[in-house]
């Protein structure tokens, strides 16, 4: 404690002294007690801090993951391909400007691929479905297509695995020899580039580039597949914008994909919520039990302070400040650790970074201070009516 000066002449300095006496020593003493308590009881303080850090880290990691994981899973679901389909009314072709209009409406919020289809005949008169599309876009949109070699030059075709026997006598010849297709008297001469296998209708089709297809048949695209990014609400909004942008077409969702995605995401989210609540609750309760034990254990300090004349308010303030400091420190360290855990999970599982969410920090700090305060105040109020002498005598 600071020693008061022996003499003071002016009343002014006396007033200053009185002020500094009533505040200064108190404040510095208060801080010193807080600090010394932490330093002297390193072991105890560390274990209490550890509990807070663990709780805060778990909470931060779960809250960060919770928001990000849904976006990441939605992206995984886009590998299922289109969730919106645009078709001409009653099987008619779409107007030529539909694709650019759809693209400008989407503005990068998804992938698009156009398809046009006719039934043509092979040179020996067999009917076969021929489709025109944009190979670069299909490659992005329909990633499950198993293609050995994508066409890269004009007049090259992609052959469905089940069509091979139709265009040629042997499967080996079908992937190397040129062939002809006839549509309404027009002949196109094509070279096979590779085969496509999907296990669905694509296996029975021949694919050309859209420009070759249009030059040959004069038929425009009749279907545009759209894989729109985002949550269910965002996809619905995009669908609405698309139907306004292309009034001549029918825009509808691929229910199979949209509903499956909603179900799986919903269940995963619920599981995450359950896990988050469980983990945060456990960690919080462990903090409570650890801290309560700690404070209860210090009833000797409490008794000495009280015996030396500290008021109950001062004591409450002291323990509360100590708890708050512990809570805040633990929360900040825990936040950093938690971000690290979330980032690690993101890297290991999704091969993509998970952005730290600083909005979580105030919540974590506030909640951990609240929990530490609660766990400090509870034992103090229990000890409130106990005489210091009883505690000091160890009874």
């Amino acid at each position: 404690m600071s020693t008061p000066p022996a003499t003071s002449a002016s009343s002014d300095s006396a007033r200053n002294l009185a002020a500094s006496r009533s505040q200064g020593p108190h404040t510095s003493m208060f801080l010193r007690m807080l600090l010394r308590a932490a330093v002297l009881r390193r072991g105890r303080a560390t274990s209490a801090l550890l509990a807070v850090v663990v709780a805060a880290a778990a909470a931060t990691a779960m809250l960060t993951l919770f928001v990000d994981v849904q976006a990441k899973l939605q992206r995984e679901f886009r590998n299922f391909g289109a969730n919106i389909i645009i078709v001409g009314r009653d099987g008619a072709s779409l107007p030529a400007d539909t694709l650019p209009r759809v693209e400008s409406t989407l503005t990068g919020r998804g992938l698009v691929a156009p398809f046009a289809m006719v039934v043509a005949r092979t040179s020996d008169g067999q009917p076969v479905v021929v489709a025109g599309t944009d190979f670069d876009r299909v490659r992005q949109l329909d990633r499950w297509w198993s293609v050995d070699n994508w066409p890269s030059a004009p007049q090259q075709a992609l052959i469905g695995v089940r069509v091979r026997s139709t265009i040629s006598s042997s499967a080996a010849a079908a992937t190397s020899q040129p062939f002809d297709l006839i549509f309404q008297g027009h002949v196109i001469h094509l070279r096979p580039a590779g085969t496509v296998q999907t296990g669905a209708a694509e296996d029975s089709r021949i694919y050309l580039s859209l420009s070759d297809f249009f030059a040959w048949t004069g038929v425009q695209a009749s279907t545009i597949e759209v894989a729109a990014n985002g949550s269910a609400d965002e996809v619905t909004a995009i669908m609405h914008q698309l139907s306004q942008a292309v009034p001549a077409a029918d825009v509808h969702p691929v229910r199979q994909i949209v509903e499956g995605e909603a179900r799986v995401l919903g269940k995963t989210r619920s599981t995450l919520v359950a896990a988050t609540v469980l983990i945060i609750l456990t960690a919080g309760l462990c903090v409570l039990s650890t801290l309560m034990g700690w404070v209860f254990d210090r009833r000797r300090d409490f008794a000495i302070m009280k015996a030396m004349g500290a008021s109950q308010r001062l004591l409450n303030g002291f323990f509360a400040a100590e708890a708050a400091a512990l809570g805040a420190t633990g929360a900040v360290i825990g936040f950093i650790v938690g971000i690290g855990i979330a980032a690690w999970i993101g890297r290991v599982n999704f091969h993509a970074p998970i952005e730290p969410r600083f909005g979580v920090l105030p919540i974590v700090v506030a909640v951990s201070i609240a929990v530490t305060l609660l766990s400090a105040i509870l034992p103090i109020s229990l000890l409130r009516h106990v005489q210091p002498a009883v505690i000091l005598r160890g009874e």
Partner: protein
């Protein structure tokens, strides 16, 4: 004496033991529940993924090429090969029959419908809705209602043995048909029991029980293709190998893993003259989604195990720090370090066992609750987990106490008794 010390410590220090015990119980509860959820989540999400539709397609081996645009097949309906309906229950004879969530046969037929004296060509699709079948002693129900859960009917679903049909919503709109109306299809009268909405080509078609389609086509027992919805395992390098190139034990491993490829192979074996293949859009992607979700829950479980271990450690350390005076007294009375440490470890073990048992029971209940409220099904907990959980609880409690016990034991009894340090 030793037993008495431990017993008295539990009897007299109820509050402390309760706090430490509560921490252990909670930690074990969460750990058990998370492990139970993590081991079961793959199966649960797999079932949810089945709502995206069938992942395997069985077709006749010598089928001619489909010429299909916008759901209208231009191939003559009697052309090509068919599967035999009588062979379908054999799907349940395959090795992975428990993984077959359902199947639906399809038989498209071109029909003429008559409306106000005008004729119109449409496709009638024959299928099972929720057909009762039996194979051996197995009775099961299968059809589009389980394989195509996104199909929605306003009105009622037709019975599989009835003469009722469904009309796709676009077709119904054009015809002005409502459920309950009569419709004449290729000279036969049917009752429309409901309007079907699928968001796909079936919206322009008529969907009827399989027997009606076979009757119109004049080929009893004929099936064009079968959609099979199976619970599969994400494919890996082994799955992509050609079964013919595999050696004996490798082949057995391939055959006995529920890969889409091996289930397709087994379907081909079960149904004569058939060709089964995975529908890549569904089969390939559900593998990735499943892997991601499983991985996520696994990592979270790992993190939560770590968190509960640390929380238990902190609680134990605190509980031991509180008792320095006691240690001092014991040592002053001549107890060896080993004796003191073993008392603490015995107490820790007892706490861990009690907390572990209570936590395991609570965790099992919690996992069941999670399963019931989220997935509408049971999440079971393997009894095998109990000894594992108990051992881990004891180890974690030990690890948490060790540092604190070491410090307590090394303390000079004089300081400890005087309450210093």
């Amino acid at each position: 004496m030793f037993v008495r010390l431990v017993y008295e410590s539990f009897r007299r220090q109820k509050r402390r033991k309760l706090l430490a015990g509560a921490a252990i119980t909670l930690g074990v509860t969460v750990a058990t529940a998370m492990i139970a959820v993590a081991t079961d989540i793959g199966d649960k999400i797999n079932r949810e993924l089945r709502t995206i539709g069938a992942n395997l397609l069985v077709t006749p081996q010598e089928d001619s090429l489909d010429v299909e645009i916008g759901g209208v097949n231009l191939k003559p309906p009697s052309d090509g090969a068919f599967l035999d309906e009588a062979d379908l229950p054999k799907i349940k004879s395959t090795f992975w029959h428990n993984n077959i969530a359902g199947f639906a046969p399809m038989l498209p037929v071109n029909v003429k419908i008559e409306r106000d004296g005008q004729q119109q060509d449409v496709t009638l699709l024959g299928t099972y809705f929720a057909k009762q079948l039996s194979f051996g002693k197995d009775n099961f129900t299968t059809g589009v209602r389980s394989t195509h859960p996104w199909w929605r009917v306003s009105g009622s679903w037709p019975g599989d043995n009835s003469r009722d049909i469904l009309i796709g919503e676009k077709l119904a709109g054009r015809l002005g048909e409502k459920s309950g109306d009569e419709l004449s299809v290729s000279g036969r009268q049917f009752r429309v029991s409901g309007i079907l909405s699928t968001g796909a080509t079936e919206d322009d078609q008529i969907v009827a029980p399989l027997a009606i389609a076979q009757e119109i086509l004049g080929k009893p027992g004929a099936v064009r293709r079968v959609y099979v919805s199976a619970l599969t395992k994400p494919e890996d390098a082994l799955a992509r190998r050609d079964p013919k190139s595999l050696s004996g034990p490798m082949y057995d491993r391939w055959y006995c893993s529920p890969y889409p490829q091996s289930i397709a192979y087994q379907l081909q074996e079960a149904i004569p003259h058939s060709h089964a293949e995975q529908i890549r859009q569904v089969a390939q992607n559900e593998g990735t989604v499943l892997t991601r979700i499983e991985g996520l829950i696994f990592l979270i479980t790992l993190a939560s195990l770590l968190a509960s271990a640390l929380a238990v450690s902190a609680a134990m350390a605190t509980a031991i720090f509180e008792r320095r005076a006691e240690v001092g007294l014991m040592k002053a009375l001549g107890a060896s370090k080993l004796a003191v440490a073993s008392i603490f470890f015995a107490e820790a073990t007892l706490l861990a066992l009690i907390g572990g048992l209570a936590g395991f029971a609570a965790g099992g209940l919690l996992a069941r609750q999670v399963g019931r409220s989220i997935f509408d099904s049971q999440i079971g907990i393997q009894p095998v987990l109990l000894p594992v959980v108990l051992v881990v609880a004891v180890l974690v409690t030990f690890a948490g106490s060790a540092a604190a016990i070491r410090r307590a034991v090394q303390l000079d009894p004089v300081f400890a008794l005087r309450g210093e340090l």
